[in-house]
């Protein structure tokens, strides 16, 4: 029965895919303490101004905001059909009804035309229990989805105290195979899977996308010339710069948080080792010197300390390198495979790939206490990437060729289903202005 249900829900999911979303979200594990919130469909007031349209834009504001808040795992938005009423202004709010209905917070809003492809959006957030307004904003905008995500960010920050990450983007690699030929694509979409843009298409593998800290560029590995090369690409202009094409490996590019350096793995001196390229003067500094494999560098917030994967102990484990001449400090001791670290922006947590008897899973470690948590079930999970606010970790489920996300405490899980082919190597963008 359970299986039938999930098959059915999958079917519904497939059939209800919105035209412009490449990924759709399926909540696989919810939490009980999510905040109940009601977002009333925004009222179209028409009210044409000179050159303005009288036609309501197709986007449903309340739906976009509800699904943002749902995906965060911190909120339980009421489904539109279950709304008790649809108040359109603060004057006729009956807080008592909402209170009885178990709703803690209420959002209402309205949209009107402000010019050619310009709209004015207003929204208010109310505390139902206290019967008072917590937020009230008015925007004039032409990018509707961005503004809706911005509203989600404001609500999220007001109610959780943490900065929202809805107005961000995700880079990932897709692979589709047809008649033995593979097609690799590097794509960037909004964090909710909408507006996917193909950045690069190739018949040869594309790997390891990494965002510049200002969100304007991606670094990645491309095998388009039948060898591994690192490129950077400016998203707005499509300007590509080949950055490294040394003999041997050129892999795992990662931008330093200060934006001035790029850490990478090269094997030009014989073994896979970590190097840092100064992006201003192009000086290349070798960081590790070991006959084993050293790869997958990750930066600490100081833009000096690096965490990396090494098999110097015989099996892949994670190490922290502070400065030249000092022995790297081993961070992981549990299990025989710990790799592919990513550090949260505040430097407090590390997400990585951990293997136990039942497979490869995403784990996190508190870097102060060294306490480790296994967050996912495997069996082929990889490529963890923190949301810029540290609330979620995006990763790839190799078994399904899909992306998934888990809250940093492992309590809330969701799967992002691709429209076609296989999706892998997600990389969550930094906050963008």
């Amino acid at each position: 029965m359970k299986q039938m249900l999930s098959a059915l829900s999958f079917f519904l999911l497939v059939c209800s895919w919105p035209a412009k979303a490449v990924l759709d979200v399926e909540i696989t594990q919810g939490t009980e303490d999510a905040l109940p919130i009601a977002i009333v469909p925004f009222n179209w007031t028409g009210a044409p101004v000179a050159g303005g349209t009288e036609i309501q834009p197709g986007m449903k504001w309340a739906e976009v905001i509800s699904s943002d808040l749902l995906r965060s795992g911190r909120f339980a938005p009421v489904a539109e059909k279950d709304l008790l009423s649809r108040p359109q202004s603060a004057e006729n709010l009956d807080f008592k009804t909402w209170r009885v209905g178990g709703i803690d917070h209420l959002v209402i809003g309205s949209v009107s035309a402000a010019g050619v492809n310009q709209y004015t959006v207003q929204f208010q957030l109310f505390d139902v229990l206290k019967g008072e307004q917590l937020l009230g904003y008015s925007f004039t905008t032409s990018s509707l989805r961005r503004t809706a995500h911005h509203i989600s960010d404001l609500i999220y920050q007001q109610l959780t105290g943490q900065k929202g990450a809805f107005n961000t983007r995700v880079a990932y690699v897709t692979v589709s195979r047809e008649l033995g030929t593979a097609s690799y694509k590097l794509e960037v979409s909004d964090a909710d899977g909408y507006n996917p843009v193909t950045i690069l298409t190739s018949t040869q593998p594309i790997m390891s996308p990494s965002w510049s800290p200002d969100g304007s560029q991606l670094a990645y590995v491309s095998f388009e010339n039948k060898r591994a090369q690192i490129f950077t690409q400016v998203l707005a202009t499509e300007q590509r710069t080949p950055l490294s094409a040394f003999k041997g490996l050129n892999g795992a590019p990662v931008w330093s948080p200060d934006g001035k350096q790029l850490a990478m793995t090269l094997s030009k001196d014989g073994n896979p080792d970590i190097y840092v390229l100064n992006l201003q003067n192009k000086a290349l500094t070798r960081i590790t010197r070991h006959w084993g494999i050293d790869t997958e560098p990750a930066w600490m917030p100081d833009s000096k300390t690096l965490v990396f994967t090494s098999n110097r102990s015989g099996k892949p484990q994670l190490y922290r390198f502070t400065q030249a001449g000092q022995r790297p400090q081993r961070l992981t001791f549990e299990g025989e495979y710990n790799a592919s670290a990513e550090i949260s922006k505040d430097g407090l947590k590390m997400a990585f790939v951990y293997k136990d008897k039942s497979g490869f899973k995403i784990a996190s470690m508190d870097l102060e206490t060294g306490i480790m948590d296994v967050l996912t079930d495997g069996p082929l999970d990889e490529s963890p990437s923190f949301a810029p606010n540290g609330s979620m970790i995006l990763y790839a489920e190799g078994q399904r060729g899909a992306l998934a996300a888990v809250s940093f405490d492992g309590r809330f899980k969701q799967r992002l289903v691709a429209r076609d082919g296989e999706v892998r190597e997600p990389s969550w963008s930094p906050f963008t202005k």
Partner: protein, 193 residues
């Protein structure tokens, strides 16, 4: 004749451990064992005996494993030659050459030493388990292991190119041990200089 024998001996001494002719299914993958192994064993015997008894064609001085001219240029395309076997398989998370592939790599090394106008690209691959960039490094280590053995037999640096694709180019797409075993490999891709 004497010349030939001397070179043959020298080759054996230099190599340290002479490559044994393929017997049964330990040297070649299971698929084409029967045909290749019988043909090669017979051929190998001939070569050794001819060398001892008769003044064979002196131009054919590299000798050892099979047929009249085991390292002739087109041997890599001959289904009866062990040189047509061009994939080396590995254990999980390991880059050590398994004993059953030592002879095969030795023969490829001697082939390259005898055909300096040939080049080879060693493509390292892994199965899909574990992290992607670590797997690229692991694929590189596998290809480097093969490269070292080829060079030990006289292949030159110039002839060998190494590339690792990690887990990016699997031959088996299933998430099974059988597919993983097929994917943990180094492919030997020959080409002209």
């Amino acid at each position: 004749m004497r010349n030939y024998l001397f070179i043959l001996l020298a080759a054996v001494l230099l190599a340290g451990c002479p490559a044994q002719p393929p017997k049964g299914d330990d040297a070649v993958t299971k698929k084409d064992t029967t045909t290749t192994s019988t043909a090669d064993s017979a051929g190998d015997k001939d070569a050794v005996q001819t060398g001892k008894l008769d003044g064979a064609d002196k131009t054919n001085s590299t000798a050892l494993t099979g047929g009249d001219q085991p390292y002739r240029k087109d041997a890599i395309h001959d289904a009866n030659s062990p040189l047509s076997q061009q994939v080396i398989y590995f254990d999980f998370n390991a880059s050590a050459i398994k004993s059953e592939y030592r002879d095969l790599i030795t023969w490829h090394g001697r082939y390259l030493a005898s055909n300096q106008d040939m080049k080879i690209r060693l493509e390292g691959h892994t199965d899909e388990r574990g992290s992607r960039e670590y797997n690229v490094a692991l694929g590189d280590r596998r290809a480097q292991s093969v490269k070292r053995m080829l060079m030990f037999q006289g292949a030159t640096k110039k002839q060998i190119e190494v590339i690792s694709y990690g887990e990016e180019k699997p031959v088996g797409l299933e998430h099974t041990e059988a597919a993983w075993a097929k994917n943990r490999r180094v492919q030997l891709v020959y080409g002209a200089m």
